[in-house]
């Protein structure tokens, strides 16, 4: 119960803190709006009937990823600047719980990007989002949130080890958008890049989401992709658990929890 309270208060605190930051609001509101317009122009001549679905999903996914990059990862550095990272780390509450709370707060808040891209598509292009397999879409959407959260935790842990978080989060933002197929299918990428793509949970989450809005998809194919996503995400969960043990020692050996 006490841990749930820590998780809940951290989530709400994170939402408050994130939303008041202009950069986060830009990622949350302006970014998906602009991306929806750009993707619409790019997909309009694709010949796909339900291309508006891809536009909304693509813009939403790009938005949620930007929020995760600039918030979940950047928050570690922000806490370091505020001098609060050392306080939350040395408090009796489990540091992992605080990190998870922060990421869940950001991830939930960043779902607004989907609403923005949906509204933008409707308002500017009279586009309608249509998910013929409602249950499959729901499962895909929840899986996508969880897989993104796991990746964000993985990044947040790694970034406690370094003070150069701004550099790294800028470095990974666009490659992940391309490699994980947020906008274009990963099939068009070179083979060696596809190997990287398939090792990242968002790739499978995006695949699953696409299937759920594509129309008639065989349940076995959908389930096969779902299991792959669960498997890859599971591997990341194990890595995150093991990584914390190493990081917990390393941050104190390297002294990276503070600015100096």
């Amino acid at each position: 119960m006490k841990n749930l309270k820590v998780l809940w208060t951290t989530m709400t605190l994170q939402m408050k803190n994130s939303f008041v930051r202009p950069m986060f609001r830009f990622c949350l509101l302006a970014n998906p709006l602009v991306n929806t317009i750009l993707l619409y122009e790019m997909f309009i001549n694709s010949g796909q009937i339900n291309f508006i679905n891809y536009v909304i999903l693509g813009a939403g996914l790009m938005g949620i990823w930007s929020c995760i990059c600039f918030s979940s990862a950047g928050d570690i550095n922000r806490e370091r600047w505020y001098g609060t990272l050392s306080i939350i780390y040395t408090a009796p509450a489990d540091f992992r719980l605080v990190i998870i709370g922060k990421i869940l707060g950001n991830t939930i808040l960043s779902l607004i990007t989907f609403a923005v891209s949906f509204a933008a598509a409707r308002l500017f292009f009279k586009g309608n989002f249509y998910a013929p397999q409602a249950y499959q879409f729901l499962i895909s959407f929840i899986s996508m949130i969880l897989s993104f959260a796991v990746i964000a935790i993985f990044l947040a842990y790694l970034l406690t080890l370094s003070r150069k978080t701004t550099l790294y989060m800028n470095l990974i933002e666009y490659p992940v958008i391309l490699v994980c197929g947020f906008v274009f299918p990963v099939d068009i990428l070179p083979n060696w890049v596809q190997k990287i793509s398939f090792s990242l949970p968002p790739t499978w989450a995006v695949k699953l989401l696409r299937m759920s809005v594509a129309g008639e998809v065989e349940a076995s194919i959908f389930l096969d992709t779902f299991y792959k996503l669960v498997f890859i995400t599971g591997i990341y969960v194990i890595i995150v658990i093991l990584l914390y043990k190493i990081i917990n020692k390393q941050v104190r050996k390297l002294g990276t929890l503070e600015m100096q």
């Binding site: 208060t9 605190l13 408050k16 001098g83 050392s86 040395t90 009796p92 509450a93 002294g255 929890l257």
Partner: protein, 324 residues
């Protein structure tokens, strides 16, 4: 009396990498074999220059840094490996404007930190009200911290550091940058905490503050312990000398020679100041030489006459300089 903090041959090294192509590793010894204990209920001062190792010691004690070697124990537990056993019983206050969320109100900040210490809501709310009153922020409790002055943020930091009613409080230069009133409030809080039986470890550059508050003081330099004792014990280390400072309109070298030859006088320094010529006379502690000095100065215009006792600052400067 029970030892709550125990340091034995404590060392902490940092590896610094230099260069782009040929990366060179350099090992900096921030703390190099420090040993001391802090007793329950004590206010223990850590004095030293910037970079002496004070903050590194505090960071190891609050479980933020791992020691490179040696013993570092708080409440009988190792600070690296057994930290979960005592983290709820300690807290720390660092000077400056860091350590709080500026986009939250003072109350919301304290509520959040109370949650991190697993405090139940009723107890936390009571403690928050008490602390806001203690640091004189009660009428600003629901105002966003970003609108606070530097001193107010620091006072909120103090409240945050006391949120879990800790047994041991570590304070790293807590009065730095505080206005005189804020510093006085903090000193009063420290005194009150002592009467409540709390143990406090304090670092400060204000030596009068350490002299006034601390039961015992450790002076460290370049990661080494230079001296340890009560303020009086530290004075005794270099005692035996007192100082008289006299400002004169003018003085001749002959007069200075006369003073230098007086029994018990060990040195006379002359300095030109805006107010006149200052003579700094060092003499043996028990000697009564004021009368003789005044006789030597007959006919000269004395602008001021000051008999100074040995201060902690004199002791500190002497010990640190001697340890170089």
């Amino acid at each position: 009396m029970q030892n709550l903090i125990e340091l034995k041959d404590l060392k902490r090294e940092f590896v610094i990498t230099k260069g782009w192509i040929k990366r060179k590793k350099e090992i900096v010894k921030a703390v190099d074999g420090i040993s001391f204990e802090v007793k329950k209920g004590e206010i223990f001062g850590l004095l030293g220059q910037n970079g002496a190792g004070k903050t590194t010691i505090i960071k190891m004690l609050i479980t933020l840094l791992a020691p490179s070697s040696g013993t570092c124990k708080v409440l009988g537990y190792n600070t690296y490996g057994e930290e979960k056993e005592f983290r709820d019983k300690i807290n720390f206050i660092f000077g400056g404007e860091m350590g709080v969320y500026k986009r939250l109100s003072a109350r919301d900040n304290l509520k959040y930190f109370a949650n991190l210490y697993y405090m139940d809501e009723a107890k936390a709310n009571k403690q928050i009200d008490k602390l806001l009153e203690l640091v004189d922020l009660k009428n600003k409790a629901d105002v966003l911290v970003e609108t606070f002055s530097k001193g107010m943020v620091q006072r909120l930091q103090i409240a945050r550091g006391l949120i879990n009613d800790p047994e041991i409080i570590f304070m790293d230069e807590p009065t730095i940058g505080l206005d005189p009133l804020g510093a006085k409030i903090l000193r009063n809080i420290i005194r009150k905490l002592k009467t409540d039986g709390k143990t406090i470890m304090l670092t400060t550059h204000y030596l009068y503050e350490a002299d006034e508050l601390c039961d015992r003081i450790a002076i460290i330099n370049n990661g080494h312990l230079v001296a340890l004792g009560t303020p009086q014990e530290l004075r005794n280390i270099i005692s035996g000398m007192n100082t008289i400072e006299i400002v004169l309109e003018k003085v001749t070298n002959e007069t200075i020679d006369v003073i230098e030859k007086l029994e018990s006088v060990r040195s006379v320094e002359k300095a030109d100041t805006d107010k006149g010529i200052k003579l700094i006379i060092k003499y043996l502690e028990d000697a009564d030489i004021s009368g003789n000095i005044l006789n030597s100065l007959s006919g000269l215009k004395i602008l001021s006459f000051n008999q100074k006792e040995l201060t902690l600052e004199d002791v500190y400067i002497k010990l640190v300089e001697a340890s170089r």
